[in-house]
C-alpha cells in the first residue's frame, strides 16, 4: 500500500480571490509509480495558470504500490475551492478531508472517493463506476449529466450522508444513489435508469422520468400529478405506494417507478 498525502498550502487560498485549483491530474491511476519529486512536477491548473503540484501542495509519499489499486491519496487543507477531485479516476482510493468544490468524482469509472465534509455541485457527474461517499451534504446536480447531454450517471454507487441539492440524478441511466437526508427540487429529473433512494423528504421527484426507480422514505412535497398509482408495495418490511410515470412523457414512454410512503 502507498499513501500520498497532498496538503493544500495555506497561502494558496489566502488571497481575497481564492482562485480555484483543478486537480483531475491527481488520481491514483495517474500518480502510481511516481516518486515524490515526480508527483511534485505533475501539472495542475490554478485559475488560468498551469502550476506544479509541489507549488500548491505539500506532498508526502509513504510506502510503495505496484498498481493504482494500492494507492490511496489523502487530500487535506482548505479544499473548498479545489475542483475535479477524482475526476476521471479509474482505480485506487481518494480521501478528501473537509469540504470540496465542484465536479468531485465526475466521470469516474472505478475506485473509491470519500469526502469527509460537503461536496459542491456536480459531484459524480456522468459517473460510470466505482464508489463515491460524501459524508456531508451534496450540492445541486449530483450524478447528473453535463449541461445539454441526455445521459447522466450510468454506473457505480454514491452515498450522501446529509442532504442533496436540486436535480440529483438528472438524466441518470444506471447505478445507485443513496441520500440519507432530504433531496431538494426535482430529484431524478429525466431519469431513465438506475435507482435513487431518499431516506428523508423530496420535492417533485421523478419529473419527466421514463425508466429507473426512486424510493422516498420521508415526505413527498408537490407530488407530480402525472404519476399513476399502480399498487401497494412492501420494501424491506415497510409499506409504500408504487406509482408509474412520468405520463407527461407520453404513456408509452412512462416506465419510471416511484415509491412513496
Amino acid at each position: 500500500m502507498q499513501t500520498i498525502r497532498l496538503k493544500l498550502k495555506e497561502e494558496v487560498m489566502s488571497g481575497n480571490a481564492r482562485i480555484p485549483v483543478e486537480v483531475d491530474s491527481l488520481t491514483p491511476d495517474k500518480l502510481v509509480g511516481k516518486n515524490e519529486a515526480e508527483i511534485k512536477a505533475v501539472k495542475v491548473w490554478w485559475g488560468n495558470k498551469e502550476e506544479n503540484t509541489g507549488e500548491l501542495f505539500d506532498v508526502r509519499v509513504e510506502g510503495e504500490a505496484g498498481s493504482a489499486e494500492e494507492v490511496k491519496i489523502v487530500m487535506e487543507g482548505d479544499l473548498s475551492r479545489v475542483k475535479h477531485i477524482g475526476d476521471g479516476m479509474k482505480a485506487g482510493e481518494i480521501e478528501a478531508i473537509g469540504d470540496v468544490d465542484m465536479h468531485c468524482g465526475a466521470m469516474m469509472t472505478g475506485g473509491k472517493i470519500t469526502v469527509k465534509g460537503n461536496a459542491d455541485c456536480w459531484a459524480g457527474r456522468e459517473m460510470k463506476g466505482g464508489e463515491l461517499i460524501i459524508e456531508g451534504d451534496a450540492g445541486a446536480n449530483l450524478c447528473a449529466m453535463y449541461r445539454g447531454e441526455m445521459t447522466g450517471m450510468t454506473g457505480g454507487k454514491v452515498t450522501v450522508g446529509g442532504n442533496a441539492g436540486e436535480c440529483a440524478g438528472q438524466y441518470m441511466a444506471g447505478g445507485e444513489i443513496l441520500i440519507k437526508g432530504n433531496a431538494e427540487l426535482l430529484a431524478g429529473l429525466n431519469m431513465h435508469g438506475g435507482k435513487i433512494t431518499i431516506e428523508g423528504d423530496a420535492v417533485m421527484p421523478g419529473a419527466d422520468m421514463t425508466s429507473g426507480e426512486i424510493a422516498v422514505k420521508g415526505k413527498v412535497q408537490d407530488m407530480m400529478p402525472s404519476f399513476k398509482f399502480a399498487e401497494a408495495a412492501t420494501i424491506e418490511g415497510e409499506e409504500y405506494k408504487k406509482y408509474i410515470g412520468d405520463l407527461a412523457m407520453t404513456e408509452k414512454k412512462a416506465k419510471g417507478v416511484l415509491y412513496v410512503k
Binding site: Y146, R147, G148, E149, M150
Partner: protein, 564 residues
C-alpha cells in the same frame, strides 16, 4: 495577401477551370496572385503530391444568429472538439457547431479557402458579418434571405417585377450580401401563422404562391449581371414524396435567360428534396429522377447536402420543417421569428445507420453526385451542419472515389439501402479531376467567383493552393480520407496557412459582396413603400438598417450592372 514570391514545384495539378488534369506543373505566386514566372521565390517541393486550387464551399452555415444560437443551446456539442489555444490558434470548441476559430482552422486544414454562409437574415446581417470577421483565414460571402420578406411578397402579389428588382438590389446592398437566397418560399411566412406551404398553396394573408415567389425572384435576379443565380431551398424539405415539388420548382425558371454564362437556379442540399414514398414507412430514394432532370436540363445546378452519420445540429430558416423534426425526435428545439423577413428553427439530430430512413438519406446524397453525369452541375456539401458537419467532407470524397468503401459502409447499415436506394448498384467512381470540380471548379463557377480569382490557378487567380499528402495513384479510401482532412500545405493568398496538417498562420479573409446597380427612378419608387414598412412594422428605423462599411473590414466588391 502575402508579399513576395512562392514557387510550388513537382506538384501534380488538378485545375479543372483551366482544363489541367493531373499534369506535373509548377505554380508561381507573386504578391498573393498566380503569375507566369517568379525570379527569386521561396520554394515548396510538392514531391509528386496532389495539388488543387483552394476549395470553395458553395453552401454552409458558419456564422450568424442561428449558428450562434446553435452553439449556445448545445454546450454538449461544444465539449466535443475542444482544443487548447496554441501560439498561433485560439481556443477551439464544437463539432457540429464549431466556434468561429475552429471553423476557419478546420476548413483551412481541408484545403478550403472560401466559404459561402448560405442564409443571412437581413435584420441579423450585422451579427453575421461580426461573426464572419471572427472566422480566420477563409474568404467568405453571405446570401441574404429574401423570399419570405413582406416587401417581396407584396411585389410578387402585385406583379411589379421591376420594383421587386429595385428591392432585391437595395436589400443585397444594405446587408452587404452576395445574392438571392430562397428558403421554403412562402412556407416560413406561413409558419408565422402556424402553417407551411406546398409549391402551389397560398401564403396566408399575402395571397401568393411559392411558385410565383420563385419565378419572380428568378426573373428579378437576372435583371442584373449577378455573379450567382437564385440559390433555392425548395418547399417541403424532408417530406416523403417531395421530389415532384423539387422538379416542379426547377421547371418554373426554365424559360428565364441567365444574365451571365451560368445556371438560372442553384438548388441546394438536394438530398433533402429527392424523397419518394408517401410516409416514413415506404420512404425511398428518388435521386435518379432528380439526377435525370439535371442531366437533361442546363438551367439548374445542385449541391448534394449529403449525410454524415452521427449527431449534428440542424438549423434553417425553414421554421416549420424544424418543428416537424422536433416532433419526431422529442429533443430540444428553438424557434425564431425575424420580424417582416424570415424565421428559423434549430434542433439536434442523430443520423443513424441503423435507421432505414437515415440510411436511405445517406445513400441519396451520394447517388445524386454519382448519377448526375456532368460534375460541373453538382457540388459537394453537407449543408453544414444540417446533414452533418463540414469536417465530414473527406469521408464523402473517399466514398465517391471508392465503390469498395461504399459497399463496406452499406454492409453495416440498414438493409433498406438494398431495396429502396440505388447506391449499391452504382459502379461509378470519381477521379481526382472530378473531385476538384465538385469542390472548387464548379462551385467557383456557379458562384461567379472564377472571374474574381477563386477556384482555379490560372494567371491572375488568387494564390490559394491546397497540397494534399497523397500521390495521384492512391486508391486506398482510408488514405484518401486522411489526406483530404489535413493538407500537407494550404496556401492562402500566397501565404502558407497550414503545414503538415497544422495551422501556422491566420490571416484575415476577404468578404465578397455584390452591388447591384439599379435604376434611380425605380429605386425612388420602391423606397416609398419600403420606408412605409419601416415606419409601421420594423423595430429599427430605415436609416439605422443598412450594414455600415466598418462591419466589412476586408471588402471585395463585385458590381452587378443592370442588364442592357
Amino acid at each position: 495577401m502575402a508579399e513576395g514570391e512562392l514557387l510550388i514545384k513537382n506538384g501534380v495539378v488538378y485545375d479543372p477551370i483551366n482544363g489541367v488534369n493531373g499534369e506535373k506543373k509548377d505554380i508561381c505566386i507573386r504578391d498573393g496572385k498566380v503569375v507566369e514566372e517568379v525570379k527569386n521565390p521561396k520554394v515548396i517541393d510538392a514531391g509528386g503530391r496532389v495539388v488543387m486550387p483552394g476549395g470553395v464551399d458553395i453552401h454552409s452555415h458558419i456564422a450568424g444568429g442561428k449558428v450562434n444560437s446553435g452553439r449556445l443551446f448545445r454546450p454538449e456539442d461544444g465539449r466535443r472538439g475542444l482544443e487548447a489555444k496554441t501560439k498561433v490558434c485560439r481556443m477551439q470548441s464544437g463539432y457540429s457547431v464549431p466556434n468561429t476559430f475552429a471553423t476557419g482552422y478546420r476548413y483551412a486544414k481541408m484545403g478550403y479557402t472560401f466559404v459561402m454562409e448560405a442564409a443571412m437574415p437581413p435584420l441579423a446581417a450585422r451579427h453575421t458579418h461580426e461573426e464572419i470577421v471572427d472566422i480566420p483565414i477563409l474568404d467568405n460571402a453571405a446570401l441574404p434571405l429574401i423570399d419570405n420578406n413582406w416587401m417581396t411578397l407584396d411585389y410578387v402579389k402585385s406583379g411589379d417585377i421591376d420594383l421587386l428588382t429595385a428591392y432585391i438590389a437595395w436589400i443585397i446592398k444594405a446587408t452587404k450580401g452576395y445574392g438571392v437566397k430562397i428558403v421554403n418560399p412562402g412556407g416560413t411566412e406561413a409558419w408565422a401563422w402556424g402553417k407551411n406551404c406546398d409549391l402551389n398553396d397560398t401564403v396566408p394573408y399575402f395571397d401568393v404562391t411559392p411558385a410565383e415567389i420563385v419565378k419572380s425572384l428568378g426573373e428579378a435576379n437576372e435583371k442584373f449581371e449577378m455573379p450567382h443565380s437564385i440559390h433555392v431551398h425548395t418547399n417541403m424539405l424532408g417530406h416523403p414524396g417531395n421530389f415532384g415539388v423539387t422538379m416542379a420548382t426547377y421547371d418554373l425558371v426554365k424559360g428565364i435567360k441567365p444574365s451571365k454564362d451560368r445556371q438560372v437556379l442553384h438548388a441546394t442540399h438536394t438530398q433533402f428534396h429527392s424523397y419518394g414514398g408517401t410516409n416514413w414507412g415506404d420512404f425511398e430514394s428518388k435521386a435518379d429522377a432528380i439526377a435525370d432532370y439535371v442531366n437533361k436540363n442546363e438551367h439548374v445546378t445542385i449541391d448534394i447536402g449529403s449525410i454524415i452519420l452521427g449527431d449534428t445540429t440542424t438549423m434553417t430558416a425553414d421554421g416549420p420543417m424544424e418543428y416537424s423534426l422536433y416532433q419526431i425526435t422529442g429533443r430540444k428545439w428553438t424557434n425564431h421569428d425575424v420580424e417582416l423577413e424570415t424565421g428559423s428553427g434549430i434542433t439536434p439530430f442523430l443520423y443513424s445507420g441503423k435507421s432505414p430512413v437515415n440510411t436511405i438519406q445517406w445513400a441519396i446524397g451520394q447517388e445524386l453526385a454519382l448519377l448526375v453525369k456532368d460534375p460541373w452541375k453538382v457540388a459537394l456539401t453537407t449543408d453544414h451542419p444540417n446533414a452533418g458537419p463540414f469536417i465530414g467532407y473527406p469521408i464523402l470524397i473517399s466514398m465517391l472515389m471508392s465503390k469498395k468503401r461504399r459497399e463496406e459502409s452499406a454492409a453495416d447499415m440498414h438493409s433498406a439501402i438494398y431495396d429502396r436506394a440505388a447506391l449499391p448498384s452504382i459502379d461509378r467512381e470519381y477521379d481526382l479531376y472530378e473531385i476538384a470540380i465538385i469542390t472548387r471548379g464548379m462551385t467557383a463557377k456557379a458562384l461567379g467567383l472564377h472571374e474574381h480569382g477563386k477556384g482555379h490557378l490560372g494567371v491572375g487567380a488568387d494564390g490559394d493552393v491546397a497540397i494534399y499528402d497523397m500521390s495521384p495513384e492512391e486508391r486506398d479510401a482510408g488514405k484518401i480520407q486522411k489526406a483530404f482532412l489535413n493538407t500537407k500545405y494550404t496556401i492562402k493568398g500566397g501565404e502558407i496557412v497550414v503545414k503538415d496538417g497544422e495551422v501556422v498562420a491566420t490571416p484575415a479573409g476577404k468578404t465578397y459582396f455584390v452591388t447591384p446597380e439599379c435604376d434611380d427612378t425605380l429605386t425612388e419608387e420602391m423606397l416609398k413603400k419600403l420606408k412605409d414598412k419601416f415606419e409601421h412594422y420594423y423595430s429599427v428605423t430605415f436609416n439605422n438598417y443598412p450594414v455600415q462599411d466598418a462591419y466589412v473590414p476586408n471588402p471585395y466588391e463585385i458590381k452587378a450592372p443592370m442588364r442592357g
